[in-house]
Symmetry: C2
Subunit: 332 residues, 2 copies
Amino acid sequence: MKRNRLSVDQYVSGVLKGDRMVLSRAITLVESTLESDQLLAEKVMEQVIPHSGKSIRIGITGVPGVGKSTFIESFGDILLEAGYKLAVLAVDPSSQRSGGSILGDKTRMEKLSADKRAYIRPSPAGSTLGGVSAKTREAMLLCEAAGFGVIFIETVGVGQSEIAVRGMVDFFLLLMLAGAGDELQGIKKGIIEMCDALVINKADGDNVEAAKRAQREYANALHLFPAKENGWYPKVKVSSAVTGDGLKEVWQMIQEYIEKMMSNGFFESNRASQRVNWMHEHIRYLLESRFYQNPKIKELISSSLEDVRNGNASAIAFGRLLVDNFIQIKER
Amino acid sequence: MKRNRLSVDQYVSGVLKGDRMVLSRAITLVESTLESDQLLAEKVMEQVIPHSGKSIRIGITGVPGVGKSTFIESFGDILLEAGYKLAVLAVDPSSQRSGGSILGDKTRMEKLSADKRAYIRPSPAGSTLGGVSAKTREAMLLCEAAGFGVIFIETVGVGQSEIAVRGMVDFFLLLMLAGAGDELQGIKKGIIEMCDALVINKADGDNVEAAKRAQREYANALHLFPAKENGWYPKVKVSSAVTGDGLKEVWQMIQEYIEKMMSNGFFESNRASQRVNWMHEHIRYLLESRFYQNPKIKELISSSLEDVRNGNASAIAFGRLLVDNFIQIKER
């Protein structure tokens, strides 16, 4: 049941024309783990990358229940009204324990889904985080080349996916809730250090006062952290996806951030180091996928895995044996 | 200034005799990134592993300021009094942003450091998490072979190191504080799902009531999570490292857990899948270290990294070129 592929030229010209169907097929292509697809995808990316890079890349994270989908729906609407085309990419965490609800959430972004100026795409969960983030990054570049001026990368996870997303965006936003749930959805120091802004969501109705109180508390807490290397102090905002309050302020804050970072040089230096990290991630991904797809390695693993499981074979000695076989070191 | 190495036999017999000096040198050996040291370390591990596996492995995590060091000092004292030998290994997170204070903390465990029945060892921060956790795991096995019956693996991080540590222990304990700091040191769903117990620390003096209230709140919150596959519901305890209150109850809880998991088979099946994961981690580590230590790869990277940085060369195409060179695929 292998689906027909387009030619490199067809993918590239379709993406550059903003053809949503071709864009979707191109993202499917880069997500494929088949070696032949990877080679094709790389040729497509080679030609697409010179046309990428012109969007504002925003990471959005928060625990389940914080209202990411409704926030993205309402916040996205403001960007569409301001004339931007918006792409939303969702990174499913590779954690096997916490099953993500991202795919389910997507159906709830009804308005954005129906709008021709928006494009919504979940990324599949992968066995390695490097693989997931590499593919999300390529999907992001494809969306940029297709003319989307703002990209949201949505993540829900246990830390790993946030770190990966932080490594591919310009601005990282953490959604929070005020009130009773604080203990369960609280923020860790490391997450705060990654964030450029906290937004207290669901600040409407009876919840407005609690949200403003939380805003003050978090703002005070953030004062305890040192300034970031780019000179930006993370801001705390309140917003409501229901009433729309605060959403324009969030967008103003992001624009202010981008302006400052462009003028002090951080915007470009950040993207430059992201490109280098991307290379290292891609190397890791290729090394592992080549390794595990190698027929000889597959055979060795299937014949001896049980011995590793029950402890009869040493996990490290067997690992080294496999790697030696793979890179064909015949002697020492 | 290369330090003299011992022979494989000297390492092995020293470790098995419980010689602390040799144990320390063996851990230093497994932590070395030199290829020759790695080969030597592997031979040592091969002989040591059959003598390992008999300890109770406990992961302890919590944000900075939660009192991990004083908890470990007081809790460790209870284990020593109960006749156990205790090793404490600290995993420094590989995050470059949040500089860990683990090494600083170690000097604060004055009592444990001075006790011959205890052994304290920080692990160095590594560039890859796989590398760090692989070496911590080997250090753990060395300590077991040296006769330590309980191993603490202490971690402070932003999620990544917790996941790695969860993958090598039998029991995972999250330290928390009650009260004003909840927003900052709160727990994420993914972390709770990894934990076998929450312990509200610093439950002494004016703080006792708040700790007990937090205990009730967290216990209620944990009811919302489904039971784990092993049938264990995470417990919430309070303790004080200062007064010693609650520490014996924590130890009783861990013993109860170990007994249950041994009788329902989870203890062994968990360790079996940990061994398989360990093999995969080690493969990843070896692939990357062999790759980046390869002279040809080093040369190619140094000659073209600037082009990747400034965007003149494609990060993914250059990554693939490097990997192709490394595994010597001459044609397609």
